[in-house]
Amino acid sequence: MRPMRNTLVLVLVAACAASACNRGGATGEAAKPRIALVLKTLNHPFFVDMRRGAQAAADRLGVTLQVQAAEREVDVEKQMQIVENLIQTGIQALCITPSGSREIVSALAKANDARVPVVVVDTRVDEKAAAAAGLRLETFVGSDNYEGGRLAGGYLLKMSGGKARVAILEGIPGHETGDSRLRGFRDAVKDASGVSIVASQPANWERDQGFNVFQNMLQAHPDIDSMFACSDLMALGAIEAIAAAGKTGRIRVIGFDALDDARKAIEAGTMAASVAQFPYEMGQVAVESAVKAIRGEKLPADMKVRLELVTKDNAAAAR
């Protein structure tokens, strides 16, 4: 009697999983090539856009797209499990935005072993780690984050006339995207003697941490007049902290990603600029490249997706 109940319950769960799967249409389309897209997360607008672009390309090219992500963005181990599991299902190509540039290497090596071509999207795989593991990657599809950081830094120089006291909100330390943006920004402003970076701390890509960290920075350095955040979510959090301190409009905020909320803030004048990436295009190019890789075509090592500085002049137009 007792074991029976447990059995019943788990059979129910399995049935539930089955119906979910059928609705997703993952079965029954075995004839089409299957491509997997493994994202960092599915609950960030950036990756939601990327997924839409990838799906559009998949529909156009007649391939089945399977999208998966770990529950938490920082959980590389779960992302690795997802890759291992997808390889088991016999996918023909893998597109991935690595949650960890070095950590993901061993999972991608398993894809190599299973002869599944790998297209890296948005976040680069660490070159040394990849070389050490003898990894073969078809191509990298993404923006040049270093260039984006330079774009932001250049705009700050232009706006401030070369005199600024800058605070920086960094992403999760050790993440390639944030590190590259940071390097680009620092390189762009390093020769301007009037620009000094008074504070630079991680807010781990999160809105609420952006608020708290920037509030603390303002406490320590009330004379901050400019800030660069390696992502818009952190910048948007910082804007709230600026409002709470009654300094709205007196601090130039430059973000990254040009999310919808950030564009609205730019139109409203609470934010100065943001570097736009085009995740929808990244998703498209990723799937197109994967299809080419399946056909055995040779791809360039890098496929750059355009970047654009969004300011008050073009914020509405681009939306």
Partner: protein
């Protein structure tokens, strides 16, 4: 045997092996095994990719880290406590290990240091609970934050990556097809099971969780044994950290977030009572496998990761609900 009403010392016959699991526990455990078999059968019917040797090895390997952390949690929960710090201890032991390896220390020394850091943090948890009189929830909540912060300070927030093949073999090695993490997991379970069922310490763990006051009156040092219980949890977190670091070829200060919840889930799905005194390690292992098989199966079926969370949550709730209902019936 588990809940003793009066001040009767529960441990009077140290010659008897494993006094506590009893008929209920074995029936419960049997139910969990049947659940695992039913789940696997369902997946076998639904997808041709589930029941293959490579996928099954895959699942067990993926389960090993959570299963090892859950060993310590089973000890703690059996004693009537809880340990929320295990995920942070995985990160802290991991970065100590990684940094020492990077500094060129010998492998054995780095491994030992990771285990010592885990054990010492666990013992600190235990001391706060037994001598400090803090509720385990609070003591280990504090440690969760302290250890996470220590890991971040220690590494300045950056991951430590790239290790020698001699170390990575702990994740990549195979002995007759069996992945090394699985071997480590099995060894951990065998040793822990023997400790729990064949030593006086193990019996006291059950006794303290069953009736702490009675156990104290029978002359057992509650403080010492409770402290050791949390020490065990620290050690198993460190073992998990070793495997995780080898698997990712990187020690991350942000690793292991929310591992405590996965391990608690495996333990309670496996039939260990959150009020202490009841449960087995075998149950915990099956509980961890149920979670691993479920995640793997949902990936294979292409179920969206949002739905996966709902399903996993439902399984946890239902497993404990079944327990509660059965207990009320008894």
């Amino acid at each position: 045997m588990t809940k003793i009403a009066g001040p009767v010392p529960p441990v009077r016959d140290p010659g008897r092996p494993s006094p506590t699991p009893g008929r209920f526990a074995s029936a419960r455990q049997f139910g969990t095994v049947i659940g695992l078999v039913a789940l696997s059968t369902g997946l076998w019917i639904l997808t041709p990719h589930f029941l293959t040797v490579s996928n099954l090895l895959n699942v067990v390997e993926q389960t090993s880290i959570n299963a090892i952390v859950a060993v310590g949690l089973t000890f703690v929960i059996l004693s009537g406590g809880i340990d929320l710090s295990v995920g942070s201890l995985v990160a802290l032991s991991g970065v100590v290990l990684g940094s020492l390896l990077h500094a060129g220390q010998p492998l054995a020394m780095a491994l030992a240091a990771a285990l010592v850091v885990g054990a010492a943090s666990g013992v600190a948890n235990g001391a706060l609970v037994s001598w400090g009189g803090l509720p385990p929830f609070i003591a280990t909540l504090g440690m969760m934050s302290i250890a996470r912060g220590a890991a971040l300070v220690f590494t300045e927030g950056r991951p430590v990556s790239g290790f020698e093949p001699a170390f990575r073999v702990l994740a990549t090695g195979r002995v007759a097809l069996i992945p090394a993490p699985v071997i480590v997991m099995v060894l951990t379970y065998i040793v822990a099971h023997l400790v729990l069922t064949r030593t006086t310490f193990g019996r006291y763990v059950y006794a303290i969780g069953g009736n702490e006051e009675a156990t104290r009156l029978s002359g057992v040092s509650i403080r010492f044994h409770k402290t050791m219980v949390y020490g065990v949890s620290g050690v198993t977190s460190a073992i998990a950290a070793i495997i995780l670091t080898a698997r990712l070829n990187s020690a991350q200060p942000i690793a292991g977030m929310m591992y405590e919840l996965d391990a608690i889930a495996a333990t309670v799905i496996g039939g260990t009572s959150l009020t202490g005194g009841e449960g087995t390690l075998g149950g915990t292992l099956v509980g961890a496998l149920i979670m691993g098989v479920l995640r793997n199966g949902l990936n294979l079926l292409g179920v969206s990761s949002f739905l996966q969370q709902i399903i996993i949550g439902a399984v946890i709730v239902v497993a404990v609900l079944v327990d509660t209902v059965l207990k009320r019936r008894r």
